[in-house]
């Protein structure tokens, strides 16, 4: 086991530990925000596997989110499938969508890939609300009263918090494993230059498809969990607003680092929630102005995202400590 993996596992255990005991210290309200954070962090992380890590400009990941969500909702609502299986089914459905969308894009370049994936999302969004599909998608109203997770008498809040945490840790580990495996190596090469990767014998089609598969599978599970958590799913899961917020999480956190999307999700989810609840009425829309300003400000100063800021500050601290040590003779 190499040094990097060791560090990762250490960090993961520490993070897991913190999150596991957190409910004892923070109130119910914060727990709900954290559960939301888990969902968005998973989506952002999986999305960044394509975006920042492999330099694949996919802008339609919400398709996988919605497919997972609607599949799980349909299976549990209309066919009585238990939520646990629904989660897995959601993931698989997402994965299938990943292949359907990913394969045609294999030959596409950058901006066309972005527009194609984005069109796919808009296509699905418009399709899903059509009354003709009501028996499957609930039409304009979406699917409601989805059966939810129940385990003995554990409170809804706590159950979903730990379930979300579990899925989060699982996704983080799985994504880490993929990024540091042979697949990840190939994807990094492709990110640098697809032509160069081809030239050295990397089967770019195979690995790009795998990237879509993994990303879509994880996102599908997140979508399924989202369905179960809220008990309903609508075309809001495919909204432009949602797409923009996830992209912001990735970019503000830092799309070129592993934990960037997670940090971004944490910061933006909490900021948004707090502003929404602490500023009442119409003025609560101030949060939109603030969010916009944060994104612009962050990118102007730290194009590498908040992670860039953290790393810079940490280096400065380290340099300070070192120079202090050396002046003490």
């Amino acid at each position: 086991m190499n040094k990097q993996t060791e560090t990762f596992i250490k960090n993961l255990l520490i993070t897991a530990g913190i999150f596991m005991v957190l409910p004892a210290f923070v109130g119910d309200y914060n727990m709900t925000i954290l559960t939301m954070f888990f969902i968005w962090a998973i989506v952002a992380l999986a999305w960044n596997l394509l975006l920042g890590f492999s330099n694949i400009w996919a802008f339609g990941n919400l398709v996988f989110f919605a497919v997972g969500g609607y599949t799980a909702a349909y299976l549990s609502l209309k066919m009585g499938i238990p939520p646990v299986l629904g989660l897995i089914a959601g993931g698989c459905a997402g994965a299938i969508a990943g292949i359907i969308i990913g394969v045609p894009t294999l030959r596409l370049k950058m901006i066309y890939l972005a527009l194609f994936t984005f069109s796919a999302e808009e296509f699905l969004r418009n399709l899903v609300v059509l009354p003709e599909f009501s028996p499957y998608t609930g039409g304009p109203i979406g699917l409601q009263f989805i059966p939810q997770f129940k385990l003995f008498n554990i409170s809804f809040l706590i159950l979903h918090y730990y379930l979300g945490l579990f899925l989060f840790l699982l996704s983080v580990s799985f994504t880490w494993w993929v990024e540091n495996s042979k697949i990840g190596l190939a994807l990094r090469a492709i990110a640098g230059s697809e032509e160069a990767a081809e030239a050295i014998g990397v089967n770019t089609y195979k690995y790009k498809t795998l990237a879509f598969l993994v990303s879509a599978f994880i996102t599908g599970i997140a979508g399924a969990f989202y369905s179960y958590y809220f008990g309903s799913i609508t075309s809001g899961a495919l909204s432009f607003e949602l797409l923009v917020s996830i992209i912001f999480m990735i970019v503000v956190g830092g799309e070129y680092s592993f934990s960037g999307p997670i940090i971004g999700a944490l910061v933006l989810t909490f900021l948004d929630e707090y502003m929404r609840s602490h500023i009442g009425g119409l003025m609560s829309n101030v949060r939109l102005i603030v969010m916009g300003a944060i994104i612009i400000g962050t990118l102007l100063k730290y194009p590498a995202g908040l992670i860039g800021f953290v790393k810079q500050t940490w280096s400065k601290i380290k340099i300070n400590i070192l120079s202090e040590n050396s002046t003490e003779k």
């Binding site: 194609f116 069109s119 829309n285």
Partner: protein, 291 residues
């Protein structure tokens, strides 16, 4: 099919097409000359509509004079975008993506401001005139629609002439064809960029002022137009203004006919499916360079 219906659909299609053409030309202009995808385009469309509202409610002007406010404000927004959002990233790595993210963020902030200042409730903008046009005693179009079509087309034609004859119009075209050589002509790139973004946003604002009379004026007015505009400029061929205008009219006609036959929901869905197929099989669009 009934002849009257066909005529109505045709006219509706041309009406939408003219508005879409105005709205998308701004976007394609900025893309062609400045090389940036302006994701704040939708927000500026929305603001254009609200500026008419401001003119009507707070300054006491009529619709046409309010357009003056729309023009000035849109130009102003364009300058802000270029100076504070686009220029800082120019020449640096990641310029393309970062300007997308930041223009999106700018749009989000604008949405917040609109909600706070104007509230979320829908408003209705008045028509310029209330007549109708009849052919053999059947209404085919309102005079308001006719005025908007004429205005839109006039603006586009004037702009076309500007591009062909005026020094700055030539400069915009030159930069889009060869930025490097354009500099060697003595063209001040930053100055032309400023003008280009200003004009692009002006078109967006005015088209918003027009759209706001046809659809309800709301903070979401520009959301769908933004998406449509992107589809149009890709379908028309990125960077080609003729292509954009042609594609806009095609989309307008498509929306009116398919929308009538199958409903708006289906027409939007089919439309995006069509976009996906275009990207897969003819990414250069109608007039673009071969991919």
């Amino acid at each position: 099919m009934d002849l009257m219906i066909i005529i109505n659909l045709l006219i509706a299609g041309i009406f939408l097409g003219a508005l879409y053409a105005l709205m998308s030309t701004g976007l394609t202009l900025i893309w062609g000359t400045v090389g940036i995808l302006n994701f704040a385009h939708g927000a500026i469309i929305t603001l254009g509509g609200y500026m008419v509202w401001v003119g009507l409610q707070y300054v006491g002007l009529n619709y046409v004079l309010s357009l003056v406010i729309v023009i000035m404000f849109s130009l102003f927004l364009g300058f802000i975008l270029e100076l504070f959002i686009f220029r800082p990233f120019r020449g640096k790595t990641g310029e393309f993506m970062n300007t997308i993210y930041c223009s999106l963020a700018f749009a989000e902030s604008m949405a917040g401001i609109i909600l706070i200042v104007f509230g979320p409730r829908y408003k209705k903008l008045p028509y310029i005139s209330t007549g109708v046009i009849k052919v053999s005693n059947i209404i085919i179009m309102t005079t308001h629609e006719l005025v908007l079509v004429i205005l839109s087309i006039s603006i586009l034609i004037s702009f076309w002439i500007f591009l062909k004859k005026h020094k700055y119009g030539l400069a915009m075209r030159a930069i889009s064809q060869d930025r490097f050589a354009a500099q060697l002509m003595g063209i001040n790139l930053n100055k032309v960029y400023l003008l280009t973004v200003g004009v692009g946003c002006l078109f967006a604002g005015v088209s918003g002022a027009f759209l706001g009379t046809v659809y309800f004026l709301s903070p979401h007015l520009g959301d769908m137009p933004l998406v449509f505009a992107f589809v149009i400029i890709v379908f028309g061929g990125l960077g080609s203004i003729q292509g954009t205008i042609a594609a806009a009219f095609i989309l307008g006609l498509f929306q009116s006919t398919v929308g009538y036959l199958l409903g708006l929901g289906w027409s939007a869905a089919i439309f995006f499916l069509f976009m996906m197929l275009t990207i897969l099989f003819r990414p250069s669009g109608l007039f673009g360079e071969a991919a």
